[in-house]
Symmetry: C2
Subunit: 361 residues, 2 copies
């Protein structure tokens, strides 16, 4: 009679039951080495009957790799992170690695905790997609120095042995802003950063750059909505930031005729604030978002935005990482920047009927 013990079944248990040694069982389980067909059958039967699950700890300890990759993201519930994850997963699954995700809620402390957890549990490599911070960068450097393969997505941090994937958000921000300028706008607000803090945000730099290039001056009053706390960031509820920011802009004596929002959710908040105020989009105020979340094509008006190839970034980061894991962890760093694409929709259309209006998908 085969028992179903509370203590997890081990190779030795199966071996005893099947009248072989645990080495043979191991060979069967891993499909390696020579095992007689009959023996294999018998062992498999017993293993199944006993509901065997292999012990990844022991296995990993002995083999010195776990076939596991960690992904650290700051914010779940964010279409960007979701799409990134999807890309990462696709590649990992194809190469039969397991993905464990750690969330850091955008705080440096939790970032570090996530790194440590993954390193302690001997993930074979780590993909980091959180925003950079002093503390976290230091720990990251230690990890990389000690040989942990790391691949970074859109993170402002450089290390000779960590690969880097990013989107050209500087250019994206530049193009979004230029688009507004080309449409004749001269008073263009930015929602979603504080002036000081925003300098680390490429899309905001692109905004500044575009203004400068076109000979427009920067009006500090028109930059709204940043959180001043440096190590704490909000979750996905950035439409609140967009709403509040827009309200502030509308209260200005000379309100902007266009706004560039840090991301689509912020843009959505702003969009609703504008509607509430009884103004029309884009006639009274034009608006551009960033990220091209799925919702952006379902709002009314539909949202002009900048698309970055998110899934591709995830795939690329995963590929870089796997190459490093399976190659030399200290090999030269690889870097790849993806182009962004301005997607023009109704929220910045030149001539525009009133909203709501009838039909037209």
């Amino acid at each position: 009679m085969i028992r179903k013990p509370k203590k997890p079944v081990t190779l030795a248990d199966i071996a005893a039951e099947a009248q072989v040694t645990s080495m043979t069982v191991s060979r069967v389980i891993n499909n390696s080495g020579y095992v007689h067909a009959e023996t294999r059958e018998r062992v498999l039967r017993v293993a199944r009957a006993m509901n065997y699950r292999r012990n990844g700890l022991a296995r990993g300890l002995k083999r010195q790799r776990t076939e596991t990759v960690g992904l650290v993201i700051g914010d779940i519930a964010n279409p960007f992170a979701a799409e990134l994850t999807r890309g990462v997963r696709e590649v990992l699954e194809a190469r039969s690695y397991t993905l464990f995700i750690c969330i850091s809620e955008h705080t440096a402390k939790e970032d570090v905790q996530a790194f440590d957890s993954l390193a302690d549990h001997r993930a074979d490599g780590i993909i980091v997609a959180t925003r950079a911070s002093q503390t976290a960068n230091e720990r990251l450097e230690e990890l990389i120095d000690s040989g942990v393969p790391v691949s970074l997505i859109g993170r402002d941090f450089h290390h000779p042995h960590a690969d880097l994937v990013s989107a050209d958000n500087l250019k994206g921000g530049y193009e979004a802003t230029s688009h507004l300028i080309d449409a004749g706008h001269r008073r263009i607000g930015f929602i979603g950063v504080s002036l000081t803090q925003g300098l680390r945000l490429r899309r905001f730099q692109g905004y500044l750059e575009a203004l400068k290039q076109h000979g427009l001056s920067v009006d500090e009053q028109m930059i709204v909505g940043g959180h001043e706390a440096s190590d704490q960031m909000p979750g996905y509820s950035t439409e609140e930031m967009g709403y509040d920011g827009m309200v502030k802009l509308l209260e200005l004596e000379q309100r902007p005729t266009a706004v560039f929002a840090r991301n689509d959710f912020t843009a959505l908040g702003a969009l609703n604030a504008i509607k509430r105020a009884g103004l029309r989009i884009p006639d009274d105020i034009a608006i551009v978002g960033y990220d091209d979340v799925p919702l952006a094509q379902h709002t009314s008006p539909t949202l002009t935005t900048v698309r970055q190839p998110t899934r591709e970034q995830g795939q690329c980061a995963a590929e870089f990482l796997l190459n490093r894991i399976e190659g030399d962890s200290e090999q030269e760093r690889v870097e790849r920047t993806f182009e962004c694409e301005l997607i023009i929709r109704e929220s910045t259309a030149q001539k525009q009927a009133d909203f709501p209006r009838s039909e037209a998908v």
Copy 2:
């Protein structure tokens, strides 16, 4: 000279350097047992200098627990999952467990993979928040039978040794629908399920129940938007489902005067479809969502919806799980159902000015 080897530093390495045995180093690292203050200092100094990271595999193997919990969710990029995760994390962190998240993208196969990965890597327990499926349920049962502590959130699966946390979505759906009926609506559509598949969705059952209780008949034409494929579900892009579903409803000869959407994103899609068609909300069509995502209070009109205490569910599931982990894994199952709350906003308001309109937050 202390080297920084490519091979990870072990206790033995530190021990050699600090002229003690690895047992002493272990005691220092874990702050357990007696260690002379001077020795402790010396060991710590060496450990830091060598950039020691403990090996969770070896540690876990020996101690037979990893202080790690796995969370399986179907869909990242979903405010519901995010909030749930937040609740789970809060509790785990307070009791110093590490959380690893696995995404299953709503397929049974990936669900099973996630369970296996977590079980293989000897997570101390698993929280499951994905939708039930035949295959996955079977594997889940095996795991629980073999002693893995499991706690379920809103999953249609029962087992004597797995705790269960859920929201009363039947009642939530009932109340949402009743709210519409009370407001005088008689033709009420449902967006987001197929009639057959929807029977597993409590909030849809609540809808049916409410119609029945109020003597209204179910019109199959008014139930739209389900995916027929049973093991595959879409990601977050359910606003598309909402949009398309609403378009179908609007094409009916007798279109509904109100719709209940399976979740807020679906509702948002529907909302935009209605606006596109030049109809007014709630005057022409009233609409109710589900989940109360943050965005729901920032749309125009703001969205009537059903709030479920999401974070609390996460916390509760985590607490149940930890009790099971630290107690008896085969103890009697605990169950807890949270009440939902109907949040009435503009999209179902009785009398309503046109949108967009001026002011009023």
